[in-house]
């Protein structure tokens, strides 16, 4: 597909976009010089540590910190008494909004502890050894309550109630009994009954998935420093320094202007670093001790108290005519929210059937709290969970109809002009193109051996824009300093420098991108929702255009001709025509050098709420081999085709596809939260919570599909999330193809697959 968009009417070729430049932060990251959350040490710095609940559900009767405070080297101890109550007020926090009333209770337990790992107290001491000793001296009296872990159990009439003030939202009349179901949402289109009545074939099945962790390798880490003048600084690994500023300031009772947040390099996030955990605690410890405080989570703390994403209990029903036209799609899904409301049931119900052009849709989502850590966003939150069910159902339907699975999807594919069940009419989207890309890929035609199978599945993610501020400064030597407010997750400094250079007509290495602290730039929403390359990129392009406008004005001044008689080409100002005058072109370097005498520094600043994100679709094929003796599933081939709109830096686009596919394979085959009978997490470490390792995977083949997004000057969509959405279903469909048994419960670990094989004998 050609790259034609309104902003490039002359159809000129890209000079920077699409190249595979060396990332500007590459050398620092291969030499150990790059500084992450735990890598900062300040003068007089203390070490913080957190005491966590060993109970899944208990009343907090009393906390006695006196012995800990008396220990030599302990400089501050904090509990619930150090955090003021927060109102029942929602706040944006990426794809999953949160309630301040719940944030303060998640950061430090108040009336109750609600999960194994819930913070109860924290200390700051002169060494980690002393801090750990101090934790053991804190005496906590609990009244242990019955707990509930699984959402099916939590929804029962007689289930232990976590929050007596919680009444189900979205049902009429308003309930009078508290419930663990915080909310019910529905997405409706057409007439679901009529749709199933028109079907010749119906498939219906119930599916389960387990909570899985984002699994970033860098644990949460920060250094908080509160000054005697009432201001504070926070160095932290985060996807959103501005969001961490608002939450930390709010919880610590500070004015926003008094808190500066500096994002460190971030060692992975995937949605898990959208929310504050220890940061407000570190700040309060610092205020109490008058010393900087470093808080670094252990891996066990990361598993027990951050992330994960929701597990789901889902029933999906599809109806179709004999010739393969889908007449109705219905999904009921109950998601675990963890200890506080906020599972991604909104995105799950909205995306459930978004890949397809369906007349009749009904998706109902239940947000269910239980005694687990509060869920956080994880790469296309909710969409991947429901896609496991819907795309497995699609495969079952294809088999029943005896239609090739890609053909069935193609026949029903959403396209430009399709009205999605969740509201919008799609612009150009790449569903058909990704299906075709997989069908055409050599991997799709490799012959399969015994016990081998091939599965395919598709996925949808919205992508977002959002609040963005960017400043571009022309340096005095003609190089460019670009200041953005979004932490670089997977190479965004490279892509920003390329987009800026493309506009300016210079080389990417002449644009140096810095990630701003919150004192240096206006508000920026999180690096989340696959927004960074799209939204920050679009804003960067517009900032470059501001700089070009100013450089043209300076050239006009030097030449003493009208501004509109100057054009910008290949890094130079030129007279628009010979009529405008006969002047030698002025390079960006020459204009920069003369800036002081032509009006002062030259810069471009754009602040905006970026709209027009283009949904990204993906189709993936997975080949597996199932060992009938052990039930082990080996991944033989993975092929990812996703619509990038336009790939700025193809290597990092491929990297996102590959990384997402690997995470999905872990989710499909191994990863799960396992609780014991007391509601304690049994596997809070990387040995027992097994993410894919290098020897588990083959090379991951990618196809970058480019259906331009008309709302970005170069056609960019977000690409960070969609590729995880189809994976679990594609693996499931491949297993079915291999052994003739359809699994419906993740993870499809060896014992479960073996049991299914044995039962089918």
């Amino acid at each position: 597909m050609s790259i034609a968009e309104a902003d490039r009417p002359e159809g000129k070729e890209f000079k920077q976009i699409g190249k595979r430049i060396k990332r500007p932060d590459g050398v620092d990251k291969v030499t150990g010089r790059a500084r992450y959350g735990a890598d900062l040490n300040l003068s007089g710095m203390l070490h913080g540590a957190t005491l966590r609940s060993p109970h899944a559900h208990a009343k907090l009767i009393s906390i006695d910190t006196s012995k800990a405070e008396a220990l030599t080297g302990v400089k501050a101890v904090v509990t619930r008494d150090d955090f003021v109550e927060q109102p029942d007020e929602m706040a944006a926090a990426g794809e999953l909004p949160v309630n301040y009333m719940h944030v303060v209770r998640n950061v430090m337990a108040r009336e109750k502890v609600l999960y194994d790992g819930h913070p109860v107290a924290a200390v700051a001491a002169t060494s980690m050894t002393i801090a750990r000793k101090a934790l053991k001296l804190i005496e906590v009296e609990y009244e242990v309550l019955p707990h509930v872990i699984e959402p099916d159990e939590a929804m029962k009439e007689d289930a232990p109630i976590l929050d007596e003030t919680l009444f189900t939202e979205g049902v009429e009349p308003k309930p009078t009994k508290p419930s663990n179901v915080s909310k019910i949402v529905k997405i409706k289109k057409g007439d679901i009954e009529a749709g199933f009545a028109a079907a010749d074939v119906i498939v219906e099945r119930t599916y389960h998935t387990k909570p899985v962790h984002q699994g970033y390798i860098e644990p949460q880490a920060c250094v908080a420093s509160y000054s005697e003048d009432g201001s504070g600084e926070l160095w932290v690994t985060t996807q959103g320094p501005f969001m961490y500023r608002s939450f930390t300031a709010r919880l610590c009772g500070m004015e926003v202007s008094k808190l500066k947040v500096t994002p460190s390099e971030m060692g992975g996030g995937f949605g898990g670093k959208n929310n504050v955990y220890g940061e407000p605690v570190a700040m309060v410890l610092s205020r109490k001790s008058n010393r900087p405080v470093k808080m670094v989570m252990s891996r066990g703390e990361v598993f027990r108290a951050t992330g994960p994403t929701s597990g789901g209990h889902m029933t999906v029903k599809l109806g179709a005519t004999k010739d393969g036209r889908i007449t109705a799609g219905q999904a009921d899904l109950a998601f675990q929210a963890g200890a506080f409301p906020g599972a991604p049931i909104g995105p799950a119900t909205m995306t459930a059937f978004a890949c397809y052009d369906l007349e009749n849709v009904l998706a109902t989502g239940y947000d269910v709290i239980s005694n687990r850590p509060k869920v956080a966003a994880y790469r296309a939150p909710g969409a991947q969970v429901i896609a496991f069910a819907v795309e497995s159902a699609m495969d079952e339907l294809a088999k029943k109809l005896e239609i090739e699975p890609i053909d069935l999807r193609m026949q029903n594919a959403a396209k430009e002009g399709t009205k999605a069940a969740y509201g919008p009419v799609f612009g150009p989207i790449g569903m058909e193109e990704t299906l075709q890309a997989i069908k055409d890929h050599p991997n799709y035609n490799v012959p399969l051996g015994p016990n081998q199978g091939r599965g395919v599945a598709s996925g949808f993610w919205f992508n977002i824009g959002g609040e963005t501020s960017v400043t571009m400064n022309l340096n005095e030597d003609g190089t460019v300093a670009l200041l953005v407010g979004n932490p670089d997750i997977g190479g965004s400094r490279a892509s920003m420098s390329m987009m800026a250079a493309e506009e300016l007509g210079i080389e990417a290495e002449d644009v140096r991108v810095s990630i701003a602290d919150t004192g240096s730039l206006g508000f920026n929403f999180l690096s989340a929702g696959s927004r960074t390359t799209f939204a920050v990129g679009k804003t960067t392009i517009n900032a470059a255009r501001e700089v070009i406008k100013e450089m043209k004005a300076r050239a006009a001044k030097i030449w003493d001709i009208p501004e509109d008689a100057v054009v910008w080409e290949n890094g130079h100002a030129r007279p628009a025509s010979t009529n405008a005058g006969d002047f030698e072109p002025l390079s960006i370097v020459e204009i920069a050098k003369k800036a002081s005498t032509t009006g002062g520094p030259i810069s471009g600043h754009i602040q905006t709420n970026v709209t027009g994100a283009g949904p990204s679709l993906a189709t993936e094929a997975v080949d597996v081999e199932v060992d009938p003796e052990t039930g082990q599933v080996k991944i033989l081939r993975v092929t990812v085709a996703q619509d990038a709109g336009k790939a700025i830096h193809p290597s990092y686009v491929e990297g996102q596809f590959q990384g997402a596919a690997a995470q999905g394979i872990g989710w499909a085959l191994n990863e799960e939260y396992i609780y014991d009978e007391n509601g304690r997490l049994d596997n809070p470490n990387f040995l027992d919570y097994r993410i894919p390792v290098a020897s588990d995977l083959p090379m991951i083949d990618t196809v970058i599909v480019e259906v331009p997004n008309p709302n970005h000057p170069y056609g960019v969509r977000g690409i960070g999330e969609t590729s995880i959405v189809p994976v679990m279903a594609a693996v499931n469909n491949a297993i079915e193809n291999a052994i003739g048994i359809r699994m419906s419960d993740l993870p499809m670990s060896p014992p479960k697959v073996l049991k299914a094989i044995d039962e089918a004998k």
Binding site: R20, K22, R23, D25, G26, V27, K29, V30, T31, G32, A34, R35, Y36, A38, D39, N41, S127, M128, T129, Q214, G215, Y216, I217, E218, P219, E265, M266, G267, G268, G269, F270, V296, S298, R299, I489, G490, G491, H649, S651, Y652, E654, G655, Q658, G659, A660, A661, A662, Q663, N685, F686, L687, I691, P692, V693, A694, S695, D696, L697, M699, I700
Partner: protein
Amino acid sequence: MAKYHITAEINGDEVEYLCEPEQTLLDVLRDELNFTGTKEGCGSGDCGACTVMMNGRHVCSCLVMGAEASGAKIETIEGMADGDNLHTLQEKFIEHAALQCGICTPGILVASKALLERNPDPTETEVRYWLAGNLCRCTGYDKIIRAVMDAASEMRGN
């Protein structure tokens, strides 16, 4: 409490430090000596982010006590480049986009260098199994494996 007085060689320099009995080599490197290029991902030897060379073997420095390093020869990521010249592996990781967030990169580079010193011509499977103790959550390993294979090839003079 009594601290141990330890002398070790780190990246070719003789280094002295005091460490508590509880401190691991990783704690010492990061907190006492400011070699923060070595990362902690798990503290239990499962993720490999803290991989360093100790007396010619690659080890998880979170599983070695600080006091155990007495008299040892330690090499960390900070000692991998030769002045301005990056090691071929470092070059290839950048060229192949074999890192995204970069937190696992120091450990994977140290482990990969150990592999190529032992086996200059590894197969893809050998690279995958050698690096199976080094977790990466961003890349799906594809570009890492390609970078190591390409570095091996170049170091063999191809």
